[in-house]
Subunit: 426 residues, 2 copies
């Protein structure tokens, strides 16, 4: 069973928090949004229970792991990269690519996102082209950054067709045409699943499986979340949380939503959430600004602003009860008051004490905050968390009365780029 | 000569931009702030020209590089880590630690910031304890996260004294007492240089030199910036920029300041700036929220919000004219309109075209933005950039009428932590 809990007490009980009447006012619209979510059969709500394409991803990943591949380059940007990176960072060894191959049991994993020659050049500096796989992930097959990376990598890998996979639209787009010509295998991104909601489609499942993660547990955790939302509707805390975050922005002028994760391994999960929230809701002049932070690190960077800056934020802490490992702090310098007290505690204990201290200090200073608590860092809990935040974002889209599933604002920049790069028809 | 240019045209000329009268209103206070900056002889404004401790850092780093050290663990958090990480990320190979030792010419470099057992455990998994150096960076010697990391590392390294250095206050604090007992060498953080302004002190210089960076060029670029500010005063664009960002927040309600760097290697530079701006200005209910982003990547994550979300942001683009390397996109699939046009261009060209496209699209949509342009990614330009942003932040502190050099808001959380961890006297 996934163990993920949402605690909104410090959004209600603190000075400058929400009042019950705020929630009562929005309750009918929340109810409507929850009904809509369940009636509309969105693709992202279907994926966890159907587990569609999961078997193909696992089989494909197993082939890659058994092929003697040294490296796996995942080429994608935005929704085609953030979910895969979040999973890899959350659930694998922080120095995965530096571990001996026997420990990893699979190839090193690289992400080619940006069209930054310094980054792709670095990947190409260290891989062995003859033993490197490439996974090209773009639904349309026209994403300029992804296709540019692909064209460079393709050239370096030589006879690459047998070591390539395209994760793309099931029928349309350029990658299907290239696949047909060159006999390259493809995995499908379901037509009704958009990029930022695609982490539990082959976009996320293939690289997760290549990295040795338990794809079934990931889907199981997400399915548990769907079951609970179906049973509880607007009473599910992630769904209700949409109303709270919506109100904090629109009724309280708190236009910044900070996700502060107390685990380094969740830094990319916060980045994944930033895209989900920003691109889904930031339209028609609406949408709060999501901002990622890491505790304790950002206590020494941003907490000053959160504590004493303007009352324009909501801080959402993500806490991990049991860390994947722990280290005892050895006893030493016991005569030095400011150092000796640390001995005998563990680093995980210190991390979680600081997490709680930040939460309490924020609350005492009248700074609204909330907490998502993961019992442990594992596939089930991450699957649940992704699913809950996707549902919350869709609900928030209904409350803001925006289309959470499009991104018309990025077209203008693309048009200018296409024209300047000489794409026919622009 | 450093080549760093500031362009504020799109803060003035676009719809919703600033008017000349806004600037005229703040002009006397800006002038006063600039005078104050130059009269006050702040430590951070002195460092580049005195180059104090630079020789000691270079010599020490050379010893480490020649010692056969396999690994160098830099232990520090907040201002003791962000500058060093920014330098390493901006100027060294993106996969520095994965390169062969002959290519690196020095040890692998690890940063132990957070008290996250999963992160420190990962470092300890891969280092060879007998050939690993540790640099403990904390001015007070009481930073809990740093001392916890140190106590664990110290225990693992065994007889570590000859492979340790403490970067700390020149006289006070626990690290000096430990140094005296155990004969550990120290490097000094000047008393009048605070953590977030310390990147050009031994805090940043030692790890930069260990990583083989050109510390003299870094200081030279920063010194050029100081010279120019001394000559131009309030007319220096970084100084004047403080007034623009201040006005955008206080007179236009734009409480989010985005730094969007069009180079992956500047991602940590943005994180360094986030601390500098947030912790310096976020007090007395004031301060805009700095937010880091990377282009093109975040075009696929956050630009939707920047283009069509609320008018509550200023976007500051950091552009690199000449990237450290470039890759030609090979010609292929010329019959496929949406792919073939890329061939023959370079990745760096595509990156910079997209940068310009984003800037133009923002301006055309009435979204105020500005640009910092680096001619190239090198030590001189980074030194200039750090110095300019530090000066800008200090000037902004005067305009906001806050003390830019303290951080009283983080005390409450520390007190709770100390009490819960059993530190004597709490």
């Amino acid at each position: 069973m996934a163990d993920v809990a949402f605690d909104y007490e410090n959004l209600m009980e603190v000075e400058h928090g929400l009042a019950q009447r705020d929630l009562d006012n929005v309750e009918p619209r929340l109810q409507e949004a929850a009904d809509e979510l369940l009636e509309n059969s969105y693709g992202f709500m279907r994926l966890p229970k159907t587990g569609e394409h999961a078997a193909a991803c696992k089989e494909f990943a197993e082939n890659i792991r058994n092929s003697g591949a040294t490296d796996f380059i995942h080429v994608g940007i935005g929704g085609s990269a953030l979910g895969p990176m979040a999973l890899q960072r959350a659930l694998n060894h922080p120095y995965y690519n530096l571990l001996p191959v026997e420990t990893r049991g699979g190839p090193r994993i690289h992400f080619a996102e940006n069209t930054d020659p310094n980054s792709l050049g670095a990947i190409l500096d260290i891989v062995d082209p003859a033993n490197t796989w490439v996974n090209v992930v773009t639904k349309s097959g026209t994403t300029a950054e992804t296709m540019a990376n692909f064209l460079v990598i393709r050239d370096v890998l030589g006879d690459y067709g047998g070591r390539a996979v395209f994760t793309t639209d099931p029928e349309e787009g350029y990658l299907n045409r290239i696949s047909a010509r060159e006999g390259i295998r493809t995995l499908s991104i379901p037509k009704d699943v958009g990029g930022r909601f695609s982490v539990l489609s082959p976009v996320g499942l293939l690289p997760a499986a290549v990295g040795g993660l338990d794809v079934d547990a990931l889907l199981r955790g997400a399915a548990q979340c769907v079951d609970e939302i179906e049973a509880q509707g607007a009473k599910h805390p992630a769904v209700g949380g949409a109303a709270m975050h919506y109100l904090m922005d629109t009724a309280r002028g708190r236009n910044v939503r900070v996700m502060m994760a107390y685990a380094d391994a969740l830094e990319r999960t916060a980045a994944w959430f930033v895209q989900l929230w920003a691109e889904s809701l930031g339209k028609d002049g609406k949408g709060s600004t999501p901002h990622g932070a890491v505790g304790t690190t950002d206590q020494h960077s941003q907490v000053q602003l959160y504590m004493q800056g303007p009352q324009d934020k909501v801080i959402e802490i993500v806490e991990v009860e049991e860390h994947p490992r722990d280290l005892i702090i050895p006893e030493a310098y016991e005569d030095l008051d400011g150092v000796g007290y640390l001995g005998g505690h563990t680093m995980g204990e210190l991390l979680n004490v600081e997490c709680d201290a930040t939460r309490r200090a924020l609350a005492e200073a009248g700074r609204p905050n909330c907490t998502i608590k993961l019992g442990a860092m594992n596939e089930e809990n991450l699957g649940y968390l992704f699913q809950a935040l996707e549902a919350q974002t869709a609900i928030a889209g209904s409350l803001y009365a925006v289309n959470a599933f499009d991104q018309p604002g990025v077209e203008a920049g693309k048009q200018i780029t296409y024209k300047r790069m000489g794409r026919p028809g622009y």
